[in-house]
Symmetry: C2
Subunit: 220 residues, 2 copies
């Protein structure tokens, strides 16, 4: 199950995030018909330095050719392998409100290998309804259905007040990766990966930046 790539050092979160960006840009370069790309060009598109790009990649191996650059398709494949998105992930969404149902149609997920195959809610009026071909299941069947379908990741989009209960259920069902949209700090066991998506945060950063003329602009 673990990657065959030579991961020597502890990799920083920023490096992983940049790999995500490279992956997306490489897809675009591929569509644009480029066969190779230099660290310089990749850096220009991401507003980074070429050294940063090369260093990020160097943690995982030597993927380029001196004098030439990187083969676009090959590098995309390697980064996909590193990120684990060459495989298809099965994802469930818990909480079919405004955001939850928007995510069901979010094409970027599918494009990156994340397939939403199951929806859960606790609202009787929503259970049984159809969203993009998926029937909303009762949250009470979560443990059973997650096991049956081999769900590996769960996205939580329930209100903050009930998010911890839902996460507890999800953890009990054996899921090890959770993306939380509820504005609350959730508790999960040590061996479960939890990430929070906080959409206000970026607006708050913009607010701060305007009020204080904050420099590093246009980053992230």
């Amino acid at each position: 199950m673990s990657s065959e790539l030579p991961i020597k050092k502890r990799i920083s979160e920023s490096t992983i995030h940049r790999l995500s960006m490279y992956f997306r840009t490489l897809s675009l370069l591929q569509k644009e018909g480029y066969e190779t790309v230099s660290s310089k060009e990749l850096a220009r598109r991401e507003k980074l330095t070429p050294a940063q790009v090369r260093k990020d990649l160097s943690f995982f191996g030597s993927f380029g050719t001196r004098g030439l650059g990187y083969d676009v398709v090959e590098l995309k494949g390697k980064i996909g392998e590193i990120l684990g998105i060459n495989k298809q992930w099965k994802v469930a969404v818990v909480g079919i409100g405004n955001i939850g149902s928007a995510l069901v149609s979010y094409k970027e997920f599918t494009r990156q290998g994340f397939h939403i195959v199951k929806l859960f809610d606790n609202d009787q009026r929503k259970i049984g309804s159809n969203h993009k071909g998926i029937i909303v299941s009762d949250i009470n069947n979560l443990e059973k259905e997650i096991a049956e379908d081999g769900i590996e990741m769960v996205i939580i989009t329930v209100p903050a007040t009930v998010a911890q209960y839902m996460v507890d259920d999800v953890v009990r069902a054996g899921v090890k990766a959770i993306l939380n949209f509820a504005p609350i700090n959730l508790k999960v066991p040590q061996d479960v990966y939890l990430r929070n998506e906080n959409m206000s945060m970026e607006l708050e950063y913009l607010s701060f930046a305007i009020m204080n003329n904050h420099t590093p602009k246009n980053k992230r």
Copy 2:
């Protein structure tokens, strides 16, 4: 217009993001009835170190009382002032698709002072329709209506293929802060703040973490 707080050093993005987290947790502490909070307790809730909390705050002033901690309401007010979210921001959403319309009902924005007061789309079938009491305007009236209503921030939720055109319009209308949900690297002038919200990124991090048993878990 600029803050009266003594900002001495250049503040890191991470510090700003943590301030957002403190703000939200302080709101919760207030609701829970706490009058004071120590850096230790705040750190525990955010999974940070107490020193980190104190250092973050120290960039902006001395808000605590030695031996006691921080007054919850007072600190919340100070952080709100630093972030510029004690004021109410007028926000427009451009692109009323799945995500765009979900954001219109996203209560967390309102709670943090961001008020979506205007919606734009280029689709004739959507123009004139009502979303939570807001009538969708024609994108062609963007410049005029943004000026009229004093819109200060714009959220872009159009497809990647047209995002750059929309942003160009928004920039021309004089908006200095843009939050982009389209999966593409947009160009804006130096004096415009642009942030990208990339929801796949966090799933990609989870994917990487699972595949590689990545440590720092439960962060962010």
